[in-house]
Amino acid sequence: MPWVLFAKLGSVEIPSAGMQFLFTLGGVPVALALLIDRRFHLEKSGRGIFYGLMVGILSAIGTLALFVAYRAGGSASVITTATSLYPMVTVILAVAILRERLTIVQIVGLGFATAAFVIFSL
């Protein structure tokens, strides 16, 4: 959660592309620490690596879009809350692709989330 506040503070001066560049550099120490902890040994599953890379690439695209949204002038609290409704998409895809089951209560939750997104756009 603190990362959002830091991002909003930085976006006052730094454009979206610069934000993305620095944001990524901020994550490098975490990756290095993990690599050192694991003695530079990572699993060699091709699928796992592909999915992990896709997580990074899509996250980078999403983060860049988030910084564009912050720079567009909206308040951090509104934009952060509106964009954090992404689990709606995840839940729908999880049901369709991963064959996870959705309960009625969870479907109701999706309805609430949709209503929230509409309200935030007002």
């Binding site: 998409v89 995840t90 969870q106």
Partner: protein, 153 residues
């Protein structure tokens, strides 16, 4: 209806991150949470040449650069915890909605730290959001009866 200028990129964020949730789960099915985070950061690094700000990088104030570096640091620490949840058997349809409740903290802190104001209508929207997240925390044991268990936040 006139949409605010942040709405389109925000919708793009929803789509990209929604798909990411599936890839996160798939990745942790094959490799550890730590490895997933390393590859995530490699994926981010692939974008660096395209977003390199050039000499402007040295014009930014040190304080704002620090804010952004810290943003990346904390975000990835959070991602590591998320992957650990997936690795420990968490379902994408449960873990993603639960971890997406973090804006409640942002909404509480933004007026204090960033001096932002939240309208009543947006407050209602946030409450609805949190309710949707809580609703997703109701886990129904489909195979073992009709009991519904609520997981406290």
């Amino acid at each position: 209806m006139h949409l605010p200028p942040w709405m389109l990129p925000a919708a793009f964020v929803l789509l990209a991150r929604g798909i990411v949730g599936i890839f996160q789960k798939l990745s942790t099915n094959y490799i550890s949470a730590e490895s997933t985070l390393v590859w995530l950061i490699v994926g981010f690094l692939l974008f660096e040449p395209f977003v390199y700000p050039g000499h402007d990088l040295f014009q930014y104030s040190g304080r704002n650069v620090l804010w952004d570096l810290l943003s990346g640091l904390f975000s990835n620490l959070g991602a590591l915890a998320l992957f650990a949840a997936f690795k420990n058997g968490g379902k994408a349809s449960i873990v993603c909605p639960m971890t997406a409740l973090y804006p409640l903290g942002v909404v509480l802190l933004a007026p204090l730290v960033l001096h932002e104001t939240i309208t009543r209508l947006q407050g209602v929207g946030d409450l609805l959001r949190s309710d949707s997240g809580r609703a997703a925390l109701y886990v129904r044991h489909l195979g073992s009866g009709k009991r519904v268990q609520r997981v406290s936040v």
